[in-house]
């Protein structure tokens, strides 16, 4: 918590202090606590973001189904109201917990931290935080995640990376979801990939469909590799 404070007095009646404090310092402080907890429990934390209705919950169902024999997965779901998503996941046999934000358009580290004790983290290898469907505000809030994954559905149009650059700049993986609809839509995967790479050249991309299962193998392999890397890093 080192903050440089100037002791110089400004002209006039006011004394100025140059602070340069991060505006979201309170959030980042809690995010670091979460990060440490995840290291202790050996849990890979993924912050899953997207617009509303791009298929996050369906992808969670499909992912859990694929990985159920390989690791323990759990999902924390953020929504403005209702427990519908958590109920949907629980019905599919997935460990899930709802965070109702009560009108707030994004999740903050504090909200995630408050529900962490609903899970037995030592037994969870992979924890997803399904963020509120919104490509704007969630981009600014670190939740202590290892990776940020952004879904971009083909139905949203291929111009999103340049419209919401911060989200794509801060993501590690972009999933182009609902790829089964591509034949019916004026959507160019090439255009999306080109734009997103101009914003973030390190962004990994997988084209995916939870219905036809295109890309699901590749996605699950990516997850398994990241879980393994985290667990190996702990052993070393």
């Amino acid at each position: 918590m080192s903050v440089e404070k100037s002791t110089k007095k400004a002209r006039g009646t006011a004394a100025c202090e140059n602070t340069n404090i991060e505006l979201l310092k309170a959030n980042d402080y809690v995010a670091d606590i979460i990060r440490k907890q995840m290291t202790t429990s050996n849990t890979l934390l993924i912050n899953l973001t997207s617009s509303a209705g791009s298929g996050k919950t369906t992808l969670m169902q499909k992912t859990a189904e694929r990985l159920k024999d390989k690791l323990n997965m759990a999902v924390m779901v953020g929504d403005l109201e209702t427990e519908r998503d958590a109920d949907r996941l629980k019905e599919a046999g997935i460990q899930a917990s709802q965070i109702v934000t009560g009108g707030i358009c994004h999740l903050e580290a504090q909200m995630v931290h408050q529900v962490l004790d609903r899970f037995n983290l030592d037994e969870i290898d992979l924890l997803f935080v399904e963020n509120v469907g919104n490509l704007v505000c969630p981009a600014s809030f670190d939740l202590g995640e290892d990776y940020r994954v952004t879904l971009m559905a083909t139905t949203e149009g291929d111009d999103k990376p340049k419209k919401y650059p911060r989200m794509f700049l801060t993501s590690d993986m972009m999933l182009i979801s609902k790829s089964d609809l591509l034949p019916h839509l004026p959507f160019s995967s090439e255009a999306v990939i080109k734009d997103s790479k101009e914003v973030n050249h390190e962004l990994e991309v997988i084209q995916i469909s939870s219905l036809t299962e295109e890309g699901v193998d590749e996605w699950c392999e990516w997850l398994l590799e990241k879980v393994q890397q985290k667990q190996e890093a702990k052993v070393l």
Binding site: T19, I21, L23, I104, L169, E198, H201
Partner: protein
């Protein structure tokens, strides 16, 4: 709602950093926000005005918001590029870069206090 959380975060952060007595002599808060921070200065000012309705303690404290443009510095050739149209590419050597040196910040840059 985003702006309201940010105003709360600013006040929480200042209350963590400074003694109450000092905060009572606060005259102005200066923020520096980048174009990539998703903070819209006008909306933040409105949220700050709304905040005073429930927290009159800080109603005489001005809020100044400075926006900064987006700049990257190439890791290879060190050239600094003003990013236009969100193309994060060095204008000198044409290589992509994620090394944002300005435009992402959300800082409480400076605080003015009454001279004592």
């Amino acid at each position: 709602m985003h702006e309201t959380s940010i105003v709360n975060s600013i006040i929480n952060t200042l209350e963590m950093e400074f003694e109450e007595e000092k905060l009572n002599s606060m005259k102005a808060i200066h923020l520096k926000v980048g174009v990539l921070s998703n903070v819209e200065p006008r909306l933040l000012q409105n949220a700050y005005s709304a905040f005073h309705l429930s927290n009159p303690k800080y109603e005489n404290v001005d809020l100044h918001i400075e926006s900064t443009t987006l700049k990257i510095q190439c890791e290879i050739c060190d050239h600094i590029t003003d990013v236009q149209n969100y193309r994060f590419i060095c204008e000198n050597c044409d290589r992509p870069s994620k090394n944002v040196i300005q435009g992402e910040e959300m800082l409480i840059h400076k605080i003015e206090f009454e001279d004592q």
